[in-house]
């Protein structure tokens, strides 16, 4: 049984002692007792942690997983990211790998051009659901059918976050958006497009998975999906696709803390998590 050391800047991270509830631990500096750092704040390859995304947004978590996957697979100096238009675009400023910010929806076509002339690189696209399921649906399906050796990552929050919360092709039934004020109605607005399922139907895709970032467990799984997707695409097996459900409390008009529940209770019903295809 160890004795609690005193709290304070130098003793940060160690219980400040005294009984129960009121006890707070200083968290402004690493602990002074012997320890091992098990996780840093930023991913390797990440230049900064500052960004303009809203409180409770799920995208930044996905960014970190992506960069961790690239770093851990040793692809840092072979990776080229092709990024669409959306809140997630900001990664272009934050990550220390090559990036091409491209037109809304066209990332898979652009990535095809990149990969075909630089076959040894690890080319991936990062897109939102508006970018990919709405504007760019043809591009991703064609690239998948062609079996391009690239990885496409779709951050699916079921809404055009960046333009302020309108309905995308991936918005779920009942979802309130600024262009479906009473919730998405199948009668008027139709049904969501399950992109991962479509991609899995195509013979050129070799790996399709759907993860999420609404809790620590799905964060960990999503990272495994990403790594497998990169492995298979860079080995030349074919097109790989990872969808990641991310919270957009702003576009959902919800308190930030309710984001994870909305994913679990609503999004997951339409978009079940897991690997859909793994050849």
């Amino acid at each position: 049984m160890t004795t609690p050391s005193p709290a304070g800047p130098t003793g940060a991270g160690v219980p400040a002692g005294g009984p129960a509830a009121a006890v707070l631990i200083a968290t402004d500096a690493p602990p002074t007792v012997p320890n091992r750092k098990v996780a840093g704040a930023l991913a390797p390859l990440q230049l900064s942690g500052e960004h303009h995304l809203c409180p409770g947004c799920g995208h930044p978590v996905a960014w970190r997983l992506l960069l961790e996957a690239i770093a851990e697979l040793g692809l840092a100096n072979r990776a080229i990211g092709v990024v669409g238009h959306g809140c997630y675009t900001n990664i272009v400023s934050l990550a220390d790998i090559d990036f091409l910010q491209c037109l809304h929806g066209r990332a898979p076509a652009v990535a095809t051009g990149v990969k075909r002339v630089q076959p040894d690189t690890a080319v991936f696209t990062l897109q939102g659901d508006g970018d990919l399921a709405s504007e760019g649906l043809a591009e991703v399906l064609h690239a998948a059918a062609r079996g391009e050796r690239i990885t496409t990552i779709m951050l699916n929050n079921g809404v055009f976050g960046d333009t302020g919360g309108q309905m995308t092709a991936a918005s779920v039934v009942g979802q309130r958006t600024k262009t479906s004020l009473d919730g998405r109605q199948p009668e008027a607005h139709g049904y969501p497009v399950p992109v991962a399922e479509l991609v899995a139907t195509l013979q050129g895709s070799v790996y399709v998975a759907r993860g999420a970032v609404h809790n620590a467990g799905s964060v960990a799984k999503t990272k495994r999906y990403l790594k497998r997707a990169f492995e298979l695409a860079t080995s030349g097996a074919g097109f790989t696709f990872v969808e990641v459900l991310t919270m957009c409390p702003t576009g959902w008009f919800l308190p930030t803390a309710d984001g994870p529940d909305y994913i679990q209770d609503t999004f997951e019903q339409t978009y079940p998590l897991g690997a859909l295809k793994d050849v």
């Binding site: 090559d98 990036f99 910010q101 491209c102 066209r106 652009v110 990535a111 075909r116 630089q118």
Partner: protein, 358 residues
Amino acid sequence: MAPQLLQGSDAVAQAAIAAGCRFFAGYPMLPFTDLLESMARRLPEVDGVCMNAESEIEAVNMALGAGAAGARAGTGSCGQGIALMQEAIAEAALNEVPFVVFNMARGQQDYFQATRGGGWGDYRTLCFAPKDVSEAVEHTQLLFHLADQYRAPVMLYGDYLIAHTYMSVDVVPIDFGPLPPKDWALDGSLGGTGKSRQIWTWAMGKAGDPGPGPDLHWQRIAEKFEEMARVETRWESIDCEGAETVVVSFGTAGPFVEQVVGELRADGVRIGAFRPITLWPFPEAALAEACRSADRVLVFEVNAGQMIDDVRLAVAGRVPVSPLGRVSIDFSGMRQGEILTVPWIRDRVHQAIKEVKV
């Protein structure tokens, strides 16, 4: 190499490959289709890639990707397909990715599209309009060079008569001199070194190394286009010295006008022909110079009147400018429309000379 009988499309394909083009993406549309087919046949022979893209939008964005990754890349289409490419052509102009757009147009109706674009923002597209297959072969090679020199998308304005005419030509690679290294091209190699690269229309830069942002970046681009406008105009002027009448035409209409003007000149008429070779930048100063002694300028173009704006801008009111052409679409035959013939032009010029008589 001995001259070969080559279809224009095939000659252009060979010229592109001679210029180092190793990536091409296109979607079939007459009269562009043959160039795509020719590329699909020839590029694999030099370990290049030809993508039979699923749409013009995908085609141009593939070319943009290949260009961004450092390859000499091309794409193309005509009219409607080029319309679909406008967003990406503008994007490439603003994020400085070079590639060549082969616009095998359905006639001359797309002059505005080629010179004013329908993309977004302040950009221009360097555009060459060859008069025949041999010139197209030369322009193709030059365009790949200029695209790299200016880091910009550029265009060849061909048409059915370029794409489908067979001609004895000799495709010899031309050396246009050195170019700056493509150290901006994305290859992933600098990832993790703190110097990784970025191509972004808004030029926002990276954390710790912010870019100029769109305002400054686009001002710089506008200056680049001003520079191109100064330096890159090209034209052909035939017998304009001392001419009372100057007939202006572009592209494959040029030789028709040339023939008519040649005949009239032989008949003693003081007439010359002027042909902008670059549609943008339009050779304003050269045309003004060519019209110095003229008291009438006639514009022959197979459309409702598009280039005539540039001609009027060039002569700035000093000489009356009249149109000779009109809308004319030889739909079934995909020539350039029924008015594109020597007799038609000859008649119209005769008439105009009488009418505009000063």
